[in-house]
């Protein structure tokens, strides 16, 4: 489903050039659960952002199915994200001024889904992660675990082909972290493709494939025996 060919990402600031990604080649098949690991600054998040099209590679090809995403313009990429991707972040990134239900619904609005359809999807997504009772609350009224589950509901409400999770358990205690991992695992079991950045070896073990990165390169790609 996904193919990265010779992807490079360089940042140039004043006199310093930093290479965040160097010659990344990666293939991810539909239905896979991939964990990306590596020390801080190795390029994990850059890789995830590139996969999520919120960061553009400096060079290389990014094929999603048979589309080359590098060739798309801003508006086409925005449409692509709305239709295809779901994001989960370490710091949840819920919008403070919107209720949980509204946060979950927001992505559907950008897809211009019809109103009745949206309501049903939002209800289902919140139900799926167990935050329905918090629908009318604002993010700051929820615990960290609840906020992250709401963020997952937002990520899955549009039934995306790909879910990108950037240290989704990083800000959570063990119990809440486990709950989030359980949700991701079951989503994957139902067929969702998931790519997750994590520092936790145990959470990485849940994924079917683990990619290790160092200094902007993939140094190992290990498939877990099932």
């Amino acid at each position: 489903m996904i193919r990265l060919e010779n992807i490079q990402r360089r940042y140039v600031s004043d006199d310093v050039e930093t290479t965040a990604l160097a010659d990344i080649n990666l293939e991810v098949a539909a239905g896979e659960f991939v964990a990306i690991m590596g020390p801080s600054g190795c390029g994990k998040s850059t890789l995830l952002n590139t996969l999520g099209t919120v960061d553009r590679p400096t060079a290389g090809r990014y094929l999603f199915g048979d589309r080359d995403l590098v060739a798309l313009n801003e508006a086409e990429l925005a449409r692509f994200r709305a239709m295809t991707l779901g994001f989960v972040f370490q710091s949840f990134n819920l919008i403070d001024e919107l209720t949980i239900a509204e946060n979950v619904e927001l992505g559907l609005i950008y897809r211009q889904d019809s109103g009745g359809d949206r309501k049903a999807r939002v209800a289902a997504a919140m139900d799926r992660v167990g935050v329905s009772h918090r629908a009318r609350h604002f993010p700051h009224q929820l615990s960290g675990g609840q906020q992250q589950r709401a963020a997952i509901a937002r990520a899955i409400v549009g039934e995306p082909k790909l879910i990108l999770a950037d240290e989704p358990t990083g800000n959570l205690d063990t119990e809440n972290g486990q709950q989030v991992m359980d949700i991701l695992t079951s989503l994957n079991a139902e067929g969702a493709t998931i790519i997750m950045v994590t520092h936790s070896p145990s959470h990485a073990d849940i994924a079917r494939r683990r990619i290790n990165m160092l200094d902007g390169r993939i140094v190992a790609s290990l498939a877990r025996a099932i």
Partner: protein, 805 residues
């Protein structure tokens, strides 16, 4: 904007109440100032535009161009018989004269003065007044008809139908009954036309005016002409020089068309066109206040942009998340621009309320009767909300939508628009404070100048004087009886008659006085004809020589011919004009060849006229007996009311049929600079609010910057900085743009105020003190504005600050 965008805005405003209050409040004040000053400008520029055919009507101006004359310039008056001579030369010319002769309405032997104007029968072709009763044009066909406005109708006839009733009017010399033939709606406030009654102007020269009605060079009526289009008016104006030569050469001499020109002024331009040497103060005031309104709005918009971009940083995460969820840049720009428009609309609504609440105060301060025309203002505010919203919201919108989502989401810190953003915000603060400081300087200078006018030495004691303007109606016998009777009242110190008085009432006469031994006609000097006790009543200061004295028989001009020698007193300004080195040097000298005048004394300049008009070189002649149309000045002691009552009672006893029209001189003089006072008040209100908005902006910016720097402050403190160091750092950072603003504001204000002061003949010096004081004030305001927050930030414990995100 989708529903969620509205919700986000609503919740963001209610959650961040202080921010909302600063942002919307500042913008509302800016819009309110703009609105009120806009209404003022609209009022002042709307004079006569209420007339249906105003753009076809032109006022004939007499333009004088004589060597050294104090009266050079364009005047709105013409010779009485000009229209008749024009219509004889240009058949079919449509026009009317308006001669504000005034009338005394006589009822039961008591006279009441009313504003009556003589007009021609074609008057209604040009001035299509709204008739409430009767046919105006037809009414003017008969010379014994009078048209009155609704107020006069109510005053004299109450609820009775006025049409067909009779009013006994004394117009000029004769008393006669007039039949009320119609009632017109009272004139609106935005007009320079001053009449409440109209009758037809007599054919030929009116009685008593025979000498000068057809004399070229006299100016006694307003003449209006109507042309179908500007081209026709232009073509007509081009034929004027030949017309002047044809008819005026006999009176004006050779080169009549050089000495005097006739020009056409569109009716609607009349109000803002200064007469003669008057400085263009009305127009200047309007332009100034219009600029103040626009700049205040601009300051408020800058405020909005500043606060919105500063806050943009705090919304970066929201923006990034929206992008991740699939919002395009266009969607985001639309959302934020929409927010700006909505916010502006809220501010506009609040501004309307503020303007409605503030208008009575503004009206009182500026002598206005403005009201808000909602039918016009509401659509204008909608447009303003969209334009200002787009203007103010576009930059923050573009800035916000440009935040790179990945970087924002990866970073713990919120971007604040980077170094460019910070620099831009600092530049905006510089801009705001430049205007604010310039406004403060302007306010100081304006207030000082208007104070100066109120307290300036006029060359005479302005307190304790009553000026009676209706002396022209007195007969020769009544004049002397009145003078003696009023002079005999216990609280009256002295009484004087003259053809001119403080406040600018009376005649304007000027004569050329040849200087012996020099070629040419000599300079033109104002002549003031005075009776007994004139100088002592005013308390004039003698500079050299002596004043008129009955013991010197030659002082009295009564019985002398113009070609005989007369004694004159001149003012200080006339001394160099007549070629003398000093006042002493002038005394005893005789000037004027064919009409010799011997200078017996020099007095200090006495300023009777508007402070916008230069002081005239003046000479005084003394007439012990009858003066043609005297203005009477009375000096009293004790309370004004008692003196006024006693004088009025005496007047009613001696001349009940002549209206008593009198006022304290200081009141009349105050009217000469009332417009300046009012303008100064409006300017001050505008400036104070502009400075306030600037402060709101600075406060908001300081608040955001300080909160963004909490962690930095923690680090600095952990490294050993004291609270004082932190305060100095933060306050110093905000003083830099304020100081820069002052550097720019000084030359701006200097140029503007020098220009404004040039409009006054009697003016203060542009002292550097005003500038220094304004700078200190601006700095003081800035320090107070940011100090509280800096103090709070400086007191935070480093441990807390270091964990602050």
């Amino acid at each position: 904007m989708n529903r969620f965008a509205f919700l986000t805005l609503y919740r963001s405003l209610t959650r961040h109440r202080l921010y909302a209050a600063l942002n919307i409040g500042g913008l509302a004040i800016g819009i309110a100032v703009f609105l009120v000053l806009g209404l003022y400008v609209r009022f002042e520029t709307s004079y006569e535009t209420w007339l249906p055919r105003h753009n076809q009507v032109y006022l004939v101006q007499t333009v004088w161009n004589m060597p050294d004359s104090p009266f050079n310039g364009a005047y709105p008056n013409t010779m009485g018989g000009l229209l008749e001579e024009m219509q004889a030369d240009f058949p079919g010319l449509s026009g009317t004269r308006i001669n504000n002769v005034g009338a005394t309405v006589l009822r039961g032997g008591i006279g009441t003065a009313e504003d009556l104007a003589w007009v021609d029968s074609q008057f209604f072709d040009l001035f299509d007044l709204t008739m409430l009763q009767g046919d105006g044009a037809r009414a003017l066909a008969a010379p014994s008809n009078v048209l009155i406005d609704a107020n006069i109708a109510h005053k004299y006839f109450g609820t009775t139908d006025p049409v067909g009733q009779t009013l006994t009017l004394n117009i000029g010399a004769g008393t006669a009954p007039y039949r009320v033939a119609g009632v017109f709606a009272p004139l609106p406030r935005n007009t320079d036309l001053k009449f409440t009654m109209l009758t037809r102007i007599p054919k030929g020269a009116p009685q008593g005016n025979e000498d000068w009605w057809y004399r070229w060079g006299s100016t006694s009526v307003n003449t209006y002409l109507r042309f179908p289009d500007p081209a026709a008016a232009k073509a007509f104006a081009a034929r004027m020089p030949a017309f002047v030569v044809r008819h005026g050469t006999a009176d004006l001499g050779a080169n009549a068309d050089k000495t005097m020109q006739l020009t056409l002024l569109p009716l609607a331009d009349h109000h803002l066109t200064p007469a003669g040497r008057e400085m263009a103060s009305v127009r200047q005031t309007i332009v100034t206040l219009g600029i103040v309104g626009v700049l205040t709005l601009l300051i408020a918009i800058v405020n909005y942009v500043n606060l919105a971009t500063a806050r943009a940083g705090l919304r970066a995460r929201e923006v990034a998340m929206r992008k991740v969820l699939g919002a395009s840049r266009g969607t985001l720009v639309r959302q934020f621009a929409g927010e700006a428009i909505l916010t502006t609309a809220l501010a506009a609504l609040l501004a309307l309320a503020l303007a409605e609440l503030g208008l009575p105060l503004v009206n009182a301060a500026a002598g206005l009767t403005l009201s808000i025309p909602y039918a016009l203002v509401v659509p204008a505010l909608v447009v303003l909300a969209i334009v200002v919203g787009m203007g103010a919201g576009l930059y923050p919108a573009v800035l916000l939508s440009r935040f790179p989502a990945a970087a924002v989401l990866a970073s713990a810190r919120s971007p604040g628009g980077g170094r460019t953003g910070a620099r831009l915000r600092e530049m905006l603060v510089v801009f705001q404070f430049t205007l604010a400081t310039a406004f403060i300087i302007g306010t100081f200078v304006l207030v000082a100048q208007t104070r100066h006018l109120r307290q300036a030495d006029l060359g005479f004691a302005r307190d304790g004087l009553i000026v009676i303007k209706s002396g022209a109606g007195l007969s020769e016998g009544q004049q002397s009886t009145m003078r003696d009777a009023i002079g005999g009242l216990p609280m009256i110190r002295s009484v004087a008659m003259a053809d001119t008085a403080a406040g600018g009432f009376g005649n304007n006469n000027a004569n050329n006085i040849e200087i012996p031994g020099r070629p040419g006609e000599g300079p033109s000097l104002r002549e003031i004809v005075v009776g007994r006790n004139f100088f002592t009543t005013y308390g004039a200061r003698v500079v050299a020589g002596r004043l008129f004295d009955d013991r010197h028989g030659t002082d009295d001009s009564n019985g002398t011919k113009g070609t005989e020698n007369r004694a004159i007193v001149i003012n200080r300004t006339a001394v160099p004009m007549l070629g003398f080195r000093s006042a002493q040097d002038a005394v005893g000298k005789t000037v004027g060849k064919g009409r010799p005048r011997t200078i017996i004394g020099v007095v200090d300049d006495m300023r009777f006229f508007s402070p916008h008009v230069p002081m005239d070189a003046t000479y005084y002649t003394y007439w012990s007996r009858y003066l043609g149309a005297p203005v009477i000045t009375v000096r009293y002691a004790g309370p004004m009311d008692a003196a006024m009552d006693a004088v009025r009672a005496t007047w009613r006893k001696i001349a009940p049929e002549v209206p008593f029209d009198a006022a304290p001189a200081d009141q009349d003089l105050a009217k000469l600079f009332a417009a300046d006072d009012h303008a100064a008040n409006l300017f001050t209100i505008g400036s104070v609010l502009a400075v306030l908005i600037g402060c709101v902006g600075l406060w908001g910016l300081a608040s955001f910057n300080t909160s963004r720097r909490v962690k930095e402050i923690g680090i600095r403190k952990a490294l050993g900085a004291s609270s004082r160091d932190i305060v100095r750092l933060l306050v110093g950072q905000f003083l830099r743009p304020v100081l820069m603003a002052n550097v720019i504001a000084w030359p701006l204000a200097w140029v503007a105020m020098r220009h404004w002061l040039a409009g006054f003949s009697d003016r203060i010096a542009l002292s550097p003190l005003y500038f220094v004081a304004a700078t200190l004030l601006a700095l003081g305001i800035a320090v107070v504005t940011v100090l509280a927050q800096s103090l709070r930030a400086s007191r935070a414990t480093p441990a807390w600050a270091l964990h602050h995100e």
